[in-house]
Amino acid sequence: MRPRLRGVVVACAAMAAGAAWAAMVGAQDVTTTADEERKRFLAEDQCYVCHQEEDMLPEGFDDGDVHVQHGLSCAGCHGGDPASDDEDVAMSKAKGFVGVPGKRQIAEFCGRCHSSIDFMRSYQPRIPTDQVAQYNTSRHGQKLREGDTNVADCTSCHTSHAIHPASDARSTVYPLHVPTTCNHCHGDAKRMAGYGIPTNQYDKYVGSVHGTALLENQDTGAPACNDCHGNHGAMPPGLTSISQVCGTCHVNNLQYFSATRMAEAFEEEGFHGCEECHGNHAIAHANDDMVGTSGDAVCLDCHEEGDDGWESAAAIREQLRTLTTTYDEAIAKQGEVQRKGMDDVDIEYLLKDAHQSLIQARTLVHTFDPEKVAVKIDEGLAKAKEAVTEADAAVEEFYFRRRGFGLATIFITVLIVALAFKIRQMGRG
């Protein structure tokens, strides 16, 4: 290699090596993770260092706790001086050390920060700060004030040292975990012995329509305990609020029900609104058999043959039966269309419309007025019948195509045979 060329090669290699080194250093800087920062922060915190060395970290301590994540160490709650490795200094009252709060102090203890919007907004501008106020109005808070230390405080649900936001799947108050968290106490017959309340709510809930949606289908939009009972202000819903609780999700049902004479009668009789027919924790998937004048119909609980309610129930049941029967027939016909490989897109649209009308009719059942239900029933019936007609036409088209093919084949075969004779004749000639 010529000297000049060799020089250029060496220079290029040096530049490439330098660039690679610089890139590696830069990459290392970028890959410094929040995890490493947290470890560094804990390593400088003398509370953590000593308690870890002495194997005295609190039970269930999780260094992924939301407070640790945000740079709030032991002293942030318990006071003291985290910079000192001298136990007497670090845990001295002069340094603000408060130690482990008692059961009655816990709500206020957490509330020192969580009730202050000035403090909390630096972490989450939209975070609520009324948890302690709500807790004080809850059955838990009321009982605690009465001196009952058996009730839940903040740590009962959130834990003490492994706290995660409710949106974090590791959290004890993540929607999928709420039923288990509540059941930890409410399923404990011994703990609940003095309160005269059942302890099988969880078992009932698991098999309910809500429990299935949440726990089996993992639908975090489905209601857990807190969605009906509240969380920090947890209370059993009273007579007046029970319908409102259900109505937060089932808006139309509540609206229709509230406008009926039955709503007034329920109130007068002291009946529990929605719960009266649908139950509470074991609430099942509503079905058409609940309406009517026979079998499992809940209407029979109050109505007798001959009264207005009886007549309405019978009429509504018949309307629902008519639509579901026609809808089911249309579904069966659609299946046949699909099995025959024919197009069912339009049938699908019609069936969706029919199903939508059926859902609306079922919702209108809460008006207890057959005329109002009939409006949606008629709409749904028209669509379902159209779907049946379309399906019949598709099936007929299927056979028409085959017959057409048969005729075409006969015609073509005749032509082929004629041609074959002609060719043979020409061959002889």
Binding site: R401, R402, A408, T409, M426
Partner: protein
């Protein structure tokens, strides 16, 4: 009767005086087709031609309703198959006929190859035939996207990506075909234009040339037939004897085509969603499968060359060599017989079959 015959003769004379068609009819009358044990292969090109005519007719009918834009393409094809009278049949026939045409073209090409019909003086007939096959594959590739369904969309994405890997011209070619960086509505419009205007124009010209060559030079006789003395050769007139046999076969193929269209209607699938992730099992049309599978099997790098680039360049060179077969095949021949081209042809068929089956199995 006599009067009608006189009118016909008068019309013929009128045309003949102006266009001198008598020599043409004389040529047709005297044209002979050899009959031997390989005569069956003569019909393959005719079947492909028949299917092309079906394509033209069904394609024209589809164009009456098809909307070549991103918002309307899928719905218009659905409209054709569900609402238009016999639209389902036209669309299904168009799709099946396209596939059958490719199949018969491959048969036609390999039968021409193995009977050495490409040899002098038919070199240009072979070359035009090869380009026609390439254009038919272009028809298939561009037509596949037009229903704008999920599989077609992603298969086109993959196909044009592969095209983009061609050295030097790949990237500009990809952008040109797609009408941008990605497969969008612009791609659909371009593919539509290529499918119904550009390729048909080129195809019609080349097909005319190909048929002219075939008519002018007559049917090729395999070597063992050519060596026979004239009196031992069996011949039939092209018109009407051969043409009637052709028609008979066309009718058979038409019946098979109708059977496929009625009993196995071509599916439309789901509408393409440009923001959805690619579904599993994206595959090109079966006639591209052997190339697709080969590219999939190649390692990321072979020496210093990217595997995909190597594969594409390899297929390009093999295609070029195949097109130029008439000009190098003689060089491999021994004493006028050429075993090596046969070996190459058989190896090609085995390779295509194995890769295609492999592609569908994995």
């Amino acid at each position: 009767m006599g009067k009608r015959r006189r009118m016909g003769e008068g019309l013929y004379r009128w045309v003949d005086e102006r266009f001198h068609v008598t020599p043409l009819f004389d040529f047709m009358r005297h044209k002979q087709v050899p009959v031997h044990r390989h005569t069956i292969w003569y019909y393959m090109g005719g079947v492909a031609l028949f299917l092309f005519l079906v394509q033209v007719a069904s394609g024209i009918l589809l164009v009456l309703y098809y909307q070549p834009n991103q918002d309307g393409a899928f719905d218009s094809v659905r409209f054709i198959t569900t609402k238009v009278q016999f639209g389902w049949l036209v669309r299904s026939v168009h799709s099946w006929s396209a596939n059958l045409m490719v199949f018969f073209l491959f048969v036609h090409m390999f039968s021409t190859f193995f009977t050495r019909a490409f040899r002098k003086p038919r070199e240009l007939t072979w070359v035009t035939g090869f380009v026609l096959l390439a254009l038919v594959l272009g028809f298939g590739f561009t037509g596949y996207l037009l229903p704008w369904n999920e599989l077609a969309y992603f298969a086109t994405k993959v196909g044009t990506d592969i095209m983009g890997a061609v050295p030097l011209i790949g990237e500009p070619l990809k952008v040109l075909l797609r009408g941008g960086d990605d497969v969008t509505g612009a791609t659909l419009v371009r593919f539509y234009a290529i499918h119904i205007a550009i390729i048909p124009a080129l195809f019609t010209m080349l097909l005319g040339l190909h048929l002219l060559f075939v008519q002018r030079q007559g049917m090729h006789e395999p070597e063992y037939v050519a060596r026979l003395p004239e009196e031992r050769k069996s011949m039939i007139p092209f018109f009407p004897n051969f043409l009637l046999r052709d028609t008979l076969l066309w009718l058979l193929v038409l019946n098979v085509l109708l059977y496929l269209a009625v009993f196995f209607p071509w599916e439309l699938g789901k509408e393409a969603d440009m923001f959805a992730s690619a579904p599993e099992g994206i595959r090109p049309e079966w006639y591209f499968m052997f190339m697709f599978q080969t590219l999939k099997l190649l390692p990321a790098h072979v020496l210093f060359i990217e595997g995909e680039v190597l594969g594409i360049v390899g297929f390009g060179l093999m295609g070029l060599a195949w097109m130029l077969v008439p000009f190098w095949e003689r060089a491999l021949a021994r004493d006028g017989r050429a075993p090596w081209p046969t070996v190459i042809g058989v190896a090609g068929i085995v390779f295509i079959l194995v890769m295609t089956i492999w592609g569908y199995l994995v």
